[in-house]
């Protein structure tokens, strides 16, 4: 158990579509840190941030900013410029992890299976004709399909397409959030989220949390309405499958070059085979988020974990 002296800034908000989620996550982290005696300031990502940080450099920053800027490394790049220690992955690693197609390539090289997928920008559909391109995609990947923005979170712009007539509309919904779409084969199985934390002794997996949305799809409402989704921790899986999920999450964390904290979203099929959907560098910390649930299941205190992560960031050698 480490001590943190000096104030910590929890960064939350920003202008991404996940602003609201981020504010809730930030509040939870800030409260948890305060409960273990850390002095905390909460700040939004806006024009006042840099002057405030520069005027009074905190001991460390805990970024809990979701979506672009928060997870694509931009905010952290700025923290590097300021030379202030912060919790979480470095900017280059964030960029790799946040871009789902890039991350898929990286983890595939590390031997982690991910759903077969096609990544295409809006312009390709415009230039080559949407019908023809979509036909090829369906011929290759089959149905159902999952359409999602290549970069994004909280399932915003994500659609599960079971019927081919719904595909064009799903593409449109996706492109409204960003100009590159990832179309994946739908993987049936149990969805689990596996947190990975590293407070100095190397990345450790938290117990997998199994996610069972009431109406089958873990969309925005299912994520942030208490009671819309059932969670089980540890997941109701065989000992081997649990181990495989944990190992996959740690391997993905290492392969992407992440640091301190991450969360891998996985699907475990009925044979116990694990497929990685994606890895988050700023995992949700809200009341309905899985990482804090997993911490609770280990009988550890969430605030103590946050404090240990901050302490590890502070004691990390500066470059």
């Amino acid at each position: 158990m480490a001590d943190v002296t000096g104030p910590v800034v929890v960064l939350a908000g920003g202008l991404s579509h996940e602003r609201d989620v981020s504010l809730r996550s930030g509040r939870r982290v800030a409260d948890a840190l305060r409960e273990v005696g850390v002095e905390v300031y909460e700040r939004d990502v806006d024009a006042e941030l840099l002057p405030a940080l520069a005027a009074d450099l905190p001991a460390a920053v805990f970024p809990v900013v979701h979506g672009a800027a928060g997870e694509d490394g931009a905010v952290r790049e700025v923290l590097e410029l300021l030379g202030v220690p912060y919790v979480g992955a470095r900017p280059d690693a964030c960029r790799r992890a946040y871009d789902k197609p890039v991350a898929k390539t990286v983890v595939t090289h590390a031997g982690i299976p991910t759903p077969e997928a096609v990544t295409l920008p809006q312009a390709t559909f415009r230039d080559l004709g949407a019908g023809a391109v979509l036909d090829r995609i369906v011929a290759r990947l089959g149905l159902p399909l999952v359409v999602k923005p290549a970069r994004g979170g909280s399932a915003l712009g994500m659609h599960v397409v079971r019927n081919v007539v719904d595909l064009p509309a799903a593409m449109v919904g996706c492109f409204s959030y960003g100009d590159t779409a990832l179309v994946e084969r739908f993987v049936a199985g149990s969805e689990v989220a596996v947190g990975v934390v590293d407070t100095g002794a190397g990345p450790q997996a938290l117990p997998p949390v199994e996610i069972v949305p009431a109406d089958g799809v873990y969309d925005y409402a299912a994520r942030y309405t208490a009671g819309q989704t059932e969670f089980f921790c540890p997941a109701r899986l065989s000992v081997d499958a649990i181990k495989a999920a944990e190992d996959t999450a740690v391997l993905a964390h290492r392969a992407l070059g992440l640091r301190d904290i991450s969360r891998s979203d996985l699907i475990v099929d009925e044979n116990g085979e694990v497929q990685l959907l994606e890895v988050n560098v700023a995992p949700g910390m809200t009341e309905t988020s899985t990482l804090p649930m997993a911490v609770a299941a280990t009988q550890h205190d969430f605030g103590a974990l946050c404090r240990d992560l901050v302490a590890a960031a502070i004691s990390r050698p500066r470059r």
């Binding site: 202008l15 991404s16 579509h17 996940e18 602003r19 609201d20 989620v21 504010l23 806006d46 809006q122 559909f125 415009r126 949407a130 909280s154 915003l156 712009g157 659609h159 397409v161 719904d166 064009p168 509309a169 799903a170 593409m171 449109v172 919904g173 492109f175 409204s176 959030y177 960003g178 117990p207 949390v209 199994e210 969309d219 925005y220 409402a221 994520r223 942030y224 309405t225 208490a226 009671g227 819309q228 059932e230 969670f231 089980f232 921790c233 540890p234 997941a235 109701r236 009341e287 309905t288 649930m293 609770a296 299941a297 280990t298 009988q299």
Partner: protein, 434 residues
């Protein structure tokens, strides 16, 4: 200690099994998440319906409160009645007289904004499955109330002159054919929210006649009536029929929504029930807010303030309409409000304004998708509500320019995919005060 290795159910909300059926629809929504971004200053929000209260004489209002608490604190800070302060009710009658309404203070019930009046009416009139007639589109806050009482809303078409009498007859007949009688007609006759149109004077008597002969109570919701840019206030529906019409008024737009003072003027029997329902709901109104408002009406040139608001909003409307005509893609059309806060924009065929909202918020402009103004959320895809009440004229112009660019992009997406609608995801209603 629990056994760590045993899977167990994680309880996020231990009352999940206990909520009433009507709470089932109360879920997190993408639309609300997007509006959390839209409230940031970096984004031009053409979504919010917030009056521009900075234009009020705030120092003078401050003095009123000071004086009130200092000199009459023991009254101002005490419980009051559920019907509202008698003096204020007299003054409310004077306000309504501007629209030809000859009401008696005894028949006025003060409410917590018009929203509480809607809720009270719902409470005393609506059983699950009852039919409410409402304009197409209709105010989102009213739809929310009707939904909470599990009523069925039947939308009645409008044109540039407001509610169409023939369509109203039709809707009543169709409802009757299905074995039901509509209980209420909910209408916003002046500077409609969200449609921006006004019910023509020539239609007013006819609409009330149709309702009267069908035994339908008319809910005349009139928060914007005094905010006409080019003309004197129109004669209220209630002015010519005190039995068929319940009139809802509000100081939210003519003074300040922060006071939360509105009112209902109702036929005696209805009034009695409203007072009892209000008593059960809130016991008493904020006395200090009512007395402050009463002082303001008595001692300040409040009509001049309303005139100042009208001029301010007229300038903003002009900024919006002017920019719309220079930047909107061909095939967009919009209403030309002569008062109030809102323009109703119709976008090219095949574009779904709800699906487009994330793109708009990404481009730092926000609006309310048309589907919010229909009870089942299924219609309205080709429309959006734009409000010009809050942003300064330059920001309005900038916002409309951004929106024009977003629409151009969306037209390209439509041309690529032949549609822009997303697969149905159920009702996703924004907060009513937007």
């Amino acid at each position: 200690m629990t056994d760590e290795s045993q899977p167990h159910h994680v309880t996020v909300d231990r009352y999940v099994e206990r909520y009433a059926a009507r709470a089932r629809g109360m879920v997190a929504s993408e639309i609300r998440a997007l509006f959390a971004v839209a409230s940031r200053p970096e984004i031009v929000s053409l979504a919010g319906g917030m009056p521009y209260v900075s234009a009020l004489p705030l120092d003078a209002v401050g003095d009123i409160f000071d004086d009130l608490v200092g000199s009459r604190g023991a009254v101002a800070m005490q419980y009051g009645s559920a019907q509202g302060d008698p003096g204020l009710r007299e003054q409310i009658c004077e306000v309504m007289a501007l629209e030809g309404v000859n009401g008696h203070a005894d028949d006025v019930v003060v409410t917590v904004g018009s929203q509480q009046a809607l809720d009270l009416i719902g409470r005393i009139f609506l059983d699950p499955g009852d039919v409410v007639l409402a304009e197409a589109p209709s105010y989102v806050g009213a739809l929310g109330v009707f939904a909470s009482y599990q009523a069925d809303v039947v939308h009645v078409p409008m044109d540039d002159d407001g509610l169409q009498p023939d369509a109203l007859r039709d809707a009543i007949a169709r409802t009757a054919a299905s074995g039901r009688t509509p209980k209420l007609l909910y209408t916003v006759p002046n500077f409609h929210n969200p449609a921006g149109v006004t019910l023509a004077a020539s239609r007013r008597a006819e609409i009330v006649d149709i309702a009267r002969s069908a035994g339908v109570l008319v809910l005349e919701d009139n928060p914007y009536g005094l905010l006409g840019f080019d003309q004197e206030p129109m004669r209220a529906l209630r002015a010519d029929d005190g039995d068929t019409v319940v009139y809802l008024g509000s100081f939210s737009k003519t003074f300040a929504p922060g006071l939360r003072v509105g009112w209902a003027l109702a036929p005696r029997g209805v009034r009695d029930k409203l007072v009892l329902a209000a008593e059960a709901g809130i016991l008493s109104h904020s006395v200090v807010c009512q007395l402050a408002l009463s002082q303001y009406l008595a001692n300040h040139p409040w009509r001049d303030q309303v005139k100042a608001f009208r001029e301010l909003y007229r300038e903003r409307r002009d900024a919006m309409l002017g920019t719309l005509s220079s930047v909107m893609p061909a095939a967009c059309t919009w209403t030309h409000p002569t008062g109030g806060f809102y323009v109703w924009l119709t976008v090219p065929e095949g574009i779904d304004t709800k699906a487009m909202l994330p793109r708009a918020v990404g481009a730092r402009v926000a609006y309310v998708p048309g589907s919010a103004f229909f009870a089942d959320g299924a219609d309205g895809a080709r429309h959006m509500r734009l409000s010009y009440c809050y942003p300064e004229p330059d920001r309005i112009r900038e916002g409309v320019r951004r929106l024009g660019a977003v629409l151009e992009e969306e037209v390209e997406v439509r041309d690529t995919f032949g549609t822009t609608g997303t697969p149905a995801r159920g009702l996703d209603r924004p907060p009513p005060n937007l």
